[in-house]
């Protein structure tokens, strides 16, 4: 039974990918220091979260059957501290959260700590819209903002956004009977803070200070500018026939993450200034509630009050010259990718030709011809098939007749 579990349940867009990658890359080292990060693949906790919350995810959920129970079993079997982390866990309902806590040992002697990394809404709103766009949404920024402000929260976007971003409600769904001292809020520092400050806060919250971690991962979530996000949205509008696997590898990974994110000189996404008073009001209410609850804070709750953006570019109507520029960059990247694949294909064709040649040479062998004739003859009768079976068993060959 794990003595202590650090259960990191969100929120998205707060540096969680980086934390998870560092933990995954260093899982052996962590174990040597008495810390379990139970994962045999980098997305193990994501699959466990899908399973816990019964959440389909473009077909990936088929790999998730039983994933939460397997993860929880590893945690229960470990004698030490375990870390479980995925930001979409923020969306769990109360009963799902209770099930998760109990399966990790809460109520059976394990000290479960809830960790939530959090960032001001001024930055979270545009970041979440961009994330939606990178997941094939076609909703404009204006419609996105309108939907978020609808008090009913109806609609797929609003219901998801608030489920994973409304910090007091997330803690309320997850906390159950945990004392406030076992709820930890890690705040994301404001723009302009030292680059590694958030990481230092994670290190502090997860007790990783004594572990000489290899931080060499580049899989941190990357962000796009306004014209680049506009371009991906335009692609989404006409690409719903593209298979999810191809979308993930070609549009999200190749175009968005590897190509367009490198264009850092373009205007960044920001909150529409017209929404700032509404957002500032929400942030104040949240900060007040979180202070009142007395949770452990790594950083400062004041950092949840986002600064009004100094500049704003409407991502629904960016400078088209910048969009064209981004599109040209994308075309070049795609052509380069096609070139890489062409080389790989040619290499495979060469390999296949060589194998065909070797096969043809082998087939000319009188020994092989006789063997094939004998096989055909024996296969055509019951007795012959039995004899072949005996032969295969004698050779220790597990193959059977077709």
């Amino acid at each position: 039974m794990a003595r202590r579990v650090l259960l990191h349940v969100g929120t998205p867009k707060t540096g969680t990918t980086y934390l998870q990658d560092v933990c995954f890359l260093n899982r052996e080292l962590l174990r040597e220091h008495g810390i379990l990060y139970p994962a045999d693949r980098f997305d193990a906790h994501f699959l466990a979260a899908l399973d816990l919350m019964r959440l389909p995810w473009a077909g990936l959920e088929r790999q998730a059957v039983g994933a939460w129970d397997r993860l929880a079993e590893q945690v229960r079997d470990f004698d030490g501290t375990a870390i479980v982390s995925h930001e979409i866990l923020a969306r769990a309902t109360g009963p799902q959260a209770r099930r998760a806590l109990e399966s990790l040992g809460h109520g059976s002697g394990t000290e479960v700590h809830l960790v939530l990394s959090v960032r001001d809404l001024v930055r979270q709103i545009p970041a979440e819209w961009q994330e939606n766009i990178k997941h094939r949404t076609t909703t404009s920024y204006a419609d996105f903002l309108t939907e978020l402000q609808d008090p009913t929260r109806d609609g797929t976007i609003a219901s998801w956004f608030w489920a994973v971003q409304e910090i007091p409600d997330i803690v309320d769904r997850w906390r159950h009977d945990l004392p406030a001292s076992q709820v930890h809020l890690v705040t994301v520092p404001p723009m302009g803070s030292p680059r590694d400050l958030l990481w230092q806060r994670f290190v502090s919250a997860f007790g990783l200070g004594e572990v000489p971690l290899d931080l060499g991962t580049d899989r941190a979530n990357v962000s796009l500018g306004a014209p680049e996000t506009y371009l991906v949205r335009q692609v989404n509008l006409v690409s719903d026939h593209i298979e999810p696997t191809d979308y993930r590898s070609q549009i999200r990974e190749l175009l968005a993450h590897r190509t367009l994110s490198a264009r850092t000189a373009s205007p960044r996404l920001a909150l529409d200034p017209a929404c700032y008073p509404w957002v500032a009001g929400l942030e104040s209410a949240w900060v007040g509630e979180l202070e009142r609850q007395g949770y452990d804070v790594v950083g400062s709750l004041e950092e949840l009050r986002g600064a009004e953006p100094a500049t704003y570019t409407d991502p629904d109507a960016p400078d088209l010259a910048q969009v064209v520029d981004a599109a040209v960059t994308s075309v070049v990247a795609l052509v380069e990718e096609i070139g890489r694949r062409r080389v790989a294909e040619e290499s495979l064709h060469t390999e296949i030709s060589e194998l065909h040649r070797q096969l043809a040479v082998a087939r000319r062998s009188p020994y092989l011809k006789a063997k094939e004739a004998a096989f055909r003859l024996l296969s055509s009768s019951w007795l012959g098939r039995r004899l072949l079976g005996v032969y295969h068993r004698a050779r220790g060959n597990s193959s059977r007749l077709a």
């Binding site: 389909p56 088929r62 309902t93 109360g94 009963p95 929260r153 219901s159 769904r173």
Partner: protein, 354 residues
């Protein structure tokens, strides 16, 4: 007291009073588990349709909400609910949209699909020498039906020099069959969205793009438009007219929705469970068939004429009249899926399966 707990007690007893008309019950009860307005309203609607066993009622109130949407919603006017400043505002459950109400039902149906399993797929017999070798392609529902029948008759696919028989029929019917198959076997967009996507991309699905298949196959392919000619072509006497699954419009949509979540319960076994386990439960009856809606009709008709002309011009061997690709001159009685009917079918399927 008018609370979720007392209303639940009313519903557990078979009550059907909507929350808005419910005037409370005694004594005040603690809620056994956190339950959403979605599950409570589903239980009420099931009560309206028939007797709900205690076991099913239990499953309903504990059902996870499949897919995206709200979390567990609170009841507006719940006197035991207290004031909460955060989270989604409470609701009147009778006003919940279709998308929310169907979520717990889909979870339960998916659990049933995974739990019940499916009949064993018959083992294909060994192919005997002396029969012409064949392969099947085309309309996926027809292919599945004919393949089963040929296996039963000892004529499995495969073999050297096999001729490919592409099974085809009127294009609107083939489109409906292809979408139904995909709805069962994989994830598929909604019917009308799918048709709109085909029109926008100007492409027919690969399985039924006969022109493309004829181009890429070269020789060794025959298109079968008249099923009565297939037994003769294959040299099979006992081959009866194929009887495909032919789900109604609402049943096909329900299958699509269950398919979208069943992977969480059944993993890679999902397609087989859906096709051989769940689909037969939904098939048959007098349900309205799935049909191409008016807005897509012109494009589909044009594609059908193009295909027919291609077959008339081409060198491909066609069994049957190419005109059979065209839609019947009179409009079909079919339609697109309708949300209230899909929800009703989902609830009835759940109730009947319990």
């Amino acid at each position: 007291m008018r609370s979720a707990a007392t209303w639940l007690a009313h519903l557990r007893a078979g009550g059907t009073t909507p929350w808005a008309a419910y005037d409370g019950g005694d004594p005040p009860l603690p809620l056994e588990t956190e339950i959403g307005a979605q599950q409570l309203e589903v239980l009420r609607r099931l009560n309206e349709l028939g007797r709900v066993s205690p076991a099913l009622a239990d499953r309903v109130i504990r059902a996870d909400l499949s897919g995206r949407g709200h979390g567990l919603l609170r009841l507006a006017g719940d006197e035991a609910g207290g004031q909460r400043r955060f989270g989604t505002p409470p609701v009147d459950p009778s006003r919940l949209p279709y998308d929310e109400l169907i979520r717990p039902v889909l979870t339960l149906l998916a659990e049933d699909v995974a739990g019940r399993g499916a009949p064993e797929r018959p083992v294909a017999p060994r192919r005997r020498r002396g029969h012409p070798a064949h392969r099947l392609a085309g309309d996926p529902l027809l292919v599945d039906a004919v393949r089963s029948e040929l296996d039963r008759l000892g004529r499995p696919e495969g073999g050297e020099g096999a001729v490919t028989y592409v099974l085809a029929r009127a294009l609107p019917t083939m489109l409906a069959a292809t979408w139904t198959w995909r709805a069962l076997a994989d994830r598929a967009p909604a019917w009308e969205d799918w048709l709109a996507m085909l029109e926008r991309t100007g492409r027919l699905p690969a399985e039924i793009d006969l022109a493309q298949q004829a181009r890429s196959a070269g020789g060794g392919m025959r298109i079968v438009l008249d099923p009565a000619l297939l037994p003769g072509a294959l040299g099979v006497d006992g081959l009866t007219a194929p009887h495909d699954l032919a789900l109604g419009a609402d049943a096909a949509e329900l299958a699509r929705l269950v398919t979208s979540v069943v992977g969480l319960h059944a993993g890679d076994a999902s397609p087989d469970l859906m096709i051989r386990g769940f689909a037969p439960r939904l098939a048959g009856g007098q349900a309205a068939p799935l049909a191409v809606p008016e807005q897509a009709r012109a494009w589909v008709d044009a594609q059908a004429r193009l295909l027919r002309d291609t077959l008339l011009r081409g060198s491909c061997d066609v069994l049957g009249e190419p005109d059979l690709l065209l839609a019947p001159p009179t409009p079909l009685s079919g339609r697109s899926p309708q949300e209230p009917a899909v929800l009703d079918l989902a609830l009835r399927t759940l109730l009947e399966g319990a």
